[in-house]
């Protein structure tokens, strides 16, 4: 009985993030529009887009291979699983031990790998631009992320997120420089990974500046829908990651019962809203940078992460 309940909760979380993801995207867009003094589309616009895309037929390039058709499902699956493994409203769910933070980072890598391949598949120049730039960015963002993971696991003694979250609630954390550095690194990585300004502009229409969009130029219909959904899942993943690591308050523990779960869910949604707001503010307040400034941006992130880890390695012995 309890087991079934656990399965249920786990399923709920997977569904929840799937449902929340487009909303988050819409929320961010809406806030940005407001900040730009535009009315902008409704918060629910992404849902409409998705359903429209899903119903349209797919136009495949002649040179597209089976990989091009399989990739969206793979990407979606990898991202959904990754996102579902991040504690959202409750920690220590049934399958939370399936993969730790490193594995989640690697799952993101899997998604990216296939997305980049898909960009190369049709054999167009813009796809190539997108893929190569995406991989360049990733080759710096992923190490930075892992450095942040190091910092956390050195503090919490584990790389498993639920335990990390529980640990961050305890008093022994205190206020640490390393944490601040890690937070900064994670934010920068999140910006880069989600193709947000200043690294990339999700709303651009100028191909030469595109990174993420250039890769998916050839996609249409349901494939595009899946890609879009995966993108918003990724954004959600990073925001909930920030939430569960650096603001784990109000997170229900496993088996705390439906009421606690609901409370946790409400707090989680609030966190997401806040995160989206901050993101929109940040994006509107700065300008996009040249592609070849990105490596400096992310190099800084990497160095911050490394610095945090080093500080901990050293302070551990004191």
């Amino acid at each position: 009985m309890a087991l079934i309940a656990d399965y249920l909760v786990q399923g709920c979380q997977m569904l929840l993030i799937l449902l929340l993801a487009p909303l988050l995207t819409g929320w961010v867009r809406a806030v940005k529009a407001r900040l730009l003094r535009r009315r902008g589309p409704s918060v629910l616009q992404p849902y409409r887009d998705l359903s429209k895309l899903l119903r349209k037929e797919v136009v495949l390039a002649d040179s597209a291979s089976w990989l091009f058709r399989v990739a969206p499902y793979l990407i979606f699956a990898a991202l959904w699983v990754a996102a579902a493994l991040v504690p959202t409203f409750a920690s220590g769910l049934l399958f939370s031990w399936t993969a730790d933070l490193i594995a989640i980072v690697a799952l993101l890598g899997t998604a990216r790998f296939f997305l980049a391949l898909a960009g190369l598949d049709v054999g167009t120049s813009f796809g190539g631009i997108g893929s190569s730039r995406e991989m360049m960015i990733a080759s710096l963002a992923e190490p930075a992320m892992l450095m942040m993971v190091f910092t956390l696991s050195l503090l919490a003694g584990t790389t498993e997120l639920s335990s990390v979250a529980r640990f961050m609630l305890t008093a022994e954390v205190g206020l640490r420089v390393s944490l601040a550095l890690a937070l900064l690194a994670l934010v920068m990585v999140a910006i880069a990974e989600n193709a947000r300004i200043p690294v990339d502009n999700p709303a651009t229409h100028l191909e030469l500046t595109m990174v993420h969009e250039a890769m998916v130029l050839e996609y249409s219909g349901r494939h595009l829908a899946l890609i879009e959904l995966s993108a918003s899942l990724k954004l959600l993943l990073y925001l909930s990651l920030l939430g569960c690591i650096f603001a784990p308050w109000g997170m229900a523990t496993a088996g705390a019962g439906p009421v606690a779960y609901l409370g946790g869910a409400a707090i989680y949604v609030a966190k997401l809203a806040l995160g989206g707001l901050l993101l929109a503010l940040f994006e509107t307040s700065i300008a996009k940078m040249r592609v070849f400034r990105v490596d400096q941006f992310l190099g800084a992130a990497l160095m911050l992460g490394l610095l945090g880890a080093l500080l901990l390695f050293v302070s551990r012995s004191l």
Binding site: Y73, L117, S132, T158, T159, L226, F292, L312, R316, S317
Partner: protein, 680 residues
């Protein structure tokens, strides 16, 4: 259990008999090479021998038998040739013969296209035999004998297509570096054996070496085994020699022979040398590993020859393995055996993984080579259409080597990361700084590897064909395909059932680690991988795979059922200007360009020059990239120049007149007489 005992006593002679069989086949091949069915016979027998060896070694390892030894009246007369089968040897026997079996299977098809079979068939079994004998040897002479024999036979295979000057040069460099490595190992054994020549490994284990000598042995072993494994800066021969050989041999050299080198390092440093006396050993190996990993993958990214790219990638993976070994040394030096067990497991696991996916990738390249006759990615492309199965296998291999879950590459790197994460307990300050830095290097190399294989797979198999050869490709034969998919399946299996592999490695680890090993994994719920209990980090490839397939298929099912499943073919959109010409695609060079800008400009002093002719000038614009190899320019070229200069400097001594020669003798006499006078 008498049956097991009987097996144990007879297994070693059998194990030894099979390499002998392989040697005999090699001799037979000299005659059979000309006949058309000769190839199939040779490769068939090689396949058989490897499979039997594999089975025997598996039996020995899984049954956890005690080491068995055997002495033949060969080799050094007063010593004899000692052979020994213990867990370590058994594990590496599995790695070697797995690769050997698959390569032979592949060659059953691939070998038919060989231009010069008489230069391949005799040496291929000999190469396999040499590697097996290295693993079984139990005294210094036999070990080095087999080691050098292995180098020699592989050299012959590298020289198989000697008519291309590049290959001949590669072979030359390879053999010289091999000789260098052997001499280094020879010196190491000289120290271990002592002045009165106790060359038996048993005697060496029993004896003790002074700390200074032990450190010297470590350095020499790093030189000897490292040069064979491809540690930076001793790697220069590797990316030249491995691609020069026929592809199934490249697979063996890259996927398996480098592992034999790792075996040599482990055998000497962990087993023969016993307790590491000094913590900085670990630091040294660790730093070398980190540098090797990053430099290797950066080199690889700069290549557009597919086989050379793979060879450079071998360098990277060797670096990862040595990171694990270095951590293990550091832990052992501080008596942290539980942590050392984790690091060792990670390293050995990666040994197995790399042998799997690197062989897979090289064999896939071989299939591409037979289909198109091209190794240069700039002239390939779109191969996924004519050869989808090869593409699928190659894709799995690429994903595995890029450490993507749920495949096996990720598991070993995950274990390595876990080993790094429990290392702040190390007391030495240098290590405290070194370990996280190496961790960053490891993360960097992992990310770059993904980039590298997006490039390798994407440019070779995706897009549109860049040359008629690529356009006219056809799917490869069924032997090759079966070989490819055996490896692909193993990559997946090792990825989703890592716990079983870890349990299989446990005897090896406890052998090298003073009895300490990781806890048993096979009884975990859902076969979850739990390296260390108090660190609650866990990973379960099986479930990850399960969830991904589940979610992917549900999504596909729902969408196709509820939403549209219509699809239409049309020209590529490409923002409104579809380019007819395949030359407009991104090439390997252009794909790597951002990386080249970011990293290459530091490491290789990469310089890009665009020569745009003035208006009215009809010459095409040109784009040039200049890369300089720091290791070669700083390390090797000076030595070569010095030798040439010296030999030219002394060459005049060949042309003196008799009187001068007489005065040489006279001088020698007078000097010696004076010496006599003064000596008294």
């Amino acid at each position: 259990m008498p049956a097991g005992v009987r097996f144990a006593t007879m297994s070693l002679p059998l194990l030894l008999g099979l390499p002998m069989l392989l040697l005999a086949v090699g001799v037979y091949a000299i005659a059979a090479a000309q006949r058309p069915e000769g190839g199939r016979q040779v490769y068939g027998i090689a396949l058989f021998a490897c499979v039997v060896l594999l089975a025997l070694a598996l039996g020995h390892l899984l049954a956890g038998r005690a080491p068995t030894t055997l002495t033949l009246p060969l080799g050094l007369p007063w010593l004899g040739a000692h052979f020994r089968l213990d867990a370590l040897a058994a594990f590496f026997l599995i790695v070697v013969n797995l690769g050997g079996a698959v390569a032979s299977l592949f060659a059953l098809g691939y070998g038919q296209h060989e231009r010069a079979p008489e230069r391949v068939l005799p040496f291929f079994p000999a190469f396999l035999a040499g590697m097996n004998l290295v693993l079984l040897a139990d005294d210094a002479f036999t070990f080095l004998f087999a080691w050098e024999f292995m180098s020699l036979s592989s050299w012959a295979l590298v020289m198989a297509h000697h008519q291309e000057p590049a290959n001949a040069r590669a072979g030359y460099l390879y053999l010289v570096m091999a000789c260098f490595g052997t001499l280094a190992l020879l010196l190491a054994f000289g120290l271990l054996a002592g002045p009165d020549g106790g060359y038996g490994f048993a005697a060496i284990r029993a004896g003790t070496t002074s700390p200074g000598f032990a450190a010297l042995v470590l350095v020499l072993t790093l030189l000897g085994a490292g040069s064979k494994a491809g540690l930076v800066p001793l790697h220069v021969w590797l990316p030249l020699a491995h691609p020069a050989a026929p592809s199934h041999v490249s697979a063996l050299m890259s996927g398996v022979m480098t592992k034999v080198a790792v075996y040599g390092f482990i055998r000497i440093v962990f087993d023969l040398l016993g307790e590491p006396a000094l913590w900085w050993w670990g630091g040294l190996v660790l730093a070398l590993g980190g540098i090797t990993a990053v430099l290797g993958v950066l080199y690889a990214l700069m290549q557009h020859d597919l086989k050379r790219l793979l060879a450079y990638h071998t360098v990277e993976n060797i670096g990862i393995i040595f990171i694990g070994l270095g951590l293990a040394l550091a832990f052992q030096a501080n008596q942290m055996y539980a942590s050392a067990a984790l690091a060792l497991t990670a390293a050995l696991f990666h040994v197995l993984n790399h042998s799997l996916f690197k062989s897979l990738l090289f064999l896939g390249t071989g299939a591409v080579l037979t289909a198109t006759g091209e190794r240069d990615m700039e002239r390939l492309g779109g191969l996924i259409h004519p050869m989808p199965w090869t593409a699928l296998a190659f894709l799995i291999g690429s994903a595995a080597i890029s450490a993507l879950p749920p495949l096996n590459g990720f598991v070993s790197e995950w274990l390595t990361f876990q080993a790094i994460l429990i290392s702040p307990e190390l007391p030495q300050w240098l290590l405290k700084f070194l370990v996280p830095a190496v961790g960053a290097l490891l993360a960097l190399s992992a990310a770059l590897a993904a980039t590298c294989f997006v490039k390798a797979f994407g440019i070779t198999f995706l897009g549109r064909p860049r040359s008629p050869a690529a356009a006219g490709a056809v799917e490869t034969d069924r032997y090759s395909l079966s070989a490819l998919f055996v490896l692909a399946a193993l990559c997946l299996l090792a990825g989703i059932l890592p716990g079983l592999v870890v349990d299989g490695l446990a005897p090896v680890v406890s052998l090298l680690n003073g009895g300490a090993r990781l806890m048993a994994q096979h009884d975990r719920p859902w076969l979850t991988l739990v390296p260390v209990v108090d660190v609650k980090s866990t990973y379960n490839g099986l479930l990850v795979l399960l969830f991904m397939t589940l979610s992917g298929f549900t999504a596909a099912f729902l969408i196709h059922r509820l939403a549209s499943n219509a699809a239409r073919r049309g020209p590529a959109w490409d923002c409104g200007f579809p380019d007819a010409n395949p030359a407009f695609q991104y090439t390997a060079g252009s794909f790597a360009q951002p990386i080249r800008r970011v990293f290459g400009s530091i490491v290789f002093q990469a310089r890009e020059r665009v020569m745009m002719p003035p208006p009215g000038d009809l010459r095409p614009a040109r784009f040039e990239v200049k890369l300089r190899d720091p290791v070669w320019e700083r390390g090797y070229a000076p030595v070569a120049h010095a030798v040439v200069a010296l030999s030219s400097r002394f060459n005049y001594l060949q042309y003196l007149t008799i009187r001068r020669y007489l005065s040489l003798v006279f001088g020698a006499l007078v000097v010696l007489l004076l010496g006599m006078v003064l000596w008294r």
